[in-house]
Symmetry: C2
Amino acid sequence: MNIIMQPIGYIKSEFKEKKELPRQSILNTDKKAIIEILPEYVEGIEGIVENDYGIILFNFHKSTKSPLRIIPHGRDHMTGVFSTRSPNRPNGIGMSIVKFTKVDGNKLEFEGVDMLDGTPVLDIKPYSSKLNPK
Amino acid sequence: MNIIMQPIGYIKSEFKEKKELPRQSILNTDKKAIIEILPEYVEGIEGIVENDYGIILFNFHKSTKSPLRIIPHGRDHMTGVFSTRSPNRPNGIGMSIVKFTKVDGNKLEFEGVDMLDGTPVLDIKPYSSKLNPK
């Protein structure tokens, strides 16, 4: 069964290669980037900067779909990929919590970038601390 | 540009219709459900119950891709869909924070279900409170 998605926009960031990327978006709040929303989806970001934080779901477009078991960074034994944030995973969906700072037409600026320039954006969701486990 | 995904498994839950669903997964911790991981992805869940919590990304397979502006539940004015958790959104990706309770072969049991029975699962990620905004 294929599930077909289409980007709602693309990331414009200063990171052109994987080795330049920070490890966790929320620890990288001094860097800003932009999502250029495609014209047909611009209505969907109305009101978005009223939320301080949001969640960007994106496609790891430069990664592979395997392996299923890896040794995560900083650990010493193999574990399943679904216990890790590895970009190499079956459906290649990345998730970052970011802080929205400005919107100008179809350009949505945010802090907390850990995506490569040109990354396809799949979805944007509100962040709510009420949904976090206690 | 099409991005093609394939389910890594399917939700088995007691919710057969949308009207039965709770509004927020984490507020529904007395109900349990199972992800039946497809055989080819079972290696990917190794070690997963060592994490208390996880994030399930799934496909809203019974929803539409529009409209781009809605009046969210409990509010009185229109806003863009990307500021809401509406299941009707361009790429139909749902996200729930859940608590893993047991794994038995390809069956991963969790608390916090807000998905319909038969929902395709796209990805599972670790939850880390360290990534939450301060």
